[in-house]
């Protein structure tokens, strides 16, 4: 099953490993499945 393990706490500027996590968590299928039950998913971060 897909689960992701990353090491954190390193110095500033780690790679974009979180993009993969965010895509996995918000991927359409689980979102579709869950949106029926709970409120709307978080809005993506704003860009100033």
């Amino acid at each position: 099953r897909s689960r992701i393990l990353v090491s954190i706490g390193e110095s500033f500027g780690t790679s974009e490993k979180f993009q993969k996590i965010n895509q996995m968590v918000c991927s359409s299928d689980c979102q579709l499945k869950r949106s029926a039950e709970v409120s709307a998913p978080p809005k993506p971060l704003k860009r100033l």
Partner: protein, 157 residues
């Protein structure tokens, strides 16, 4: 035999071109992080001089950090070990995780270079924050030039 040799060399050439593109994108990202970090430190110093001192300690978050953001209506069930070495979070809704370099970019600390939108003034400041030999990469980024999906030789860098 010569045709076969040429095919080999052509394949090796294509692989090398792909690697060069990825490495240029990696270099651009490193430069963005360097600019964002230096810009943040300079901003904090200017703020402290204006405010005659640092902000309240409990309102500042030292780098490196992560943020997890989710809807306000999300219920988070959190278990913590007594020594605070282990945490377990269960969300009832989706969430996003971002590291500090992503937050700085969203704060505009890299002058919008990553989106290819940078004013002339900001471009000058950004260039002053990186080694001279690398200014060409900053110019490319400000022109909205990203290595990941571009041709190889068409850039000032």
């Amino acid at each position: 035999a010569q045709e076969c040799q040429n095919l080999e060399v052509r394949r090796e050439k294509q692989k090398r071109i792909e690697r060069i593109k990825q490495k240029r994108a990696q270099l651009q990202d490193l430069l963005l992080q360097q600019i964002a970090f230096k810009n943040l430190v300079q901003r904090n110093e200017q703020n402290e001089q204006q405010n005659q001192g640092p902000p309240a300690l409990n309102s500042t978050i030292q780098l490196p950090f992560l943020i997890v953001n989710t809807s306000k209506r999300t219920v988070i069930d959190c278990s913590i070990s007594s020594d605070k070495f282990e945490y377990l979070f269960n969300f009832d809704n989706t969430f996003e995780i971002h590291d500090d370099s992503e937050v700085l970019k969203r704060m505009g600390m890299s002058f919008g270079l990553e989106a290819g939108k940078c004013s002339v003034e900001d471009l000058r400041t950004a260039k002053s924050l990186v080694p001279k030999a690398l200014e060409g990469y900053i110019t490319d980024m400000s022109a909205g030039f990203s290595w990941v999906n571009q041709g190889l030789l068409s850039s000032s860098a």
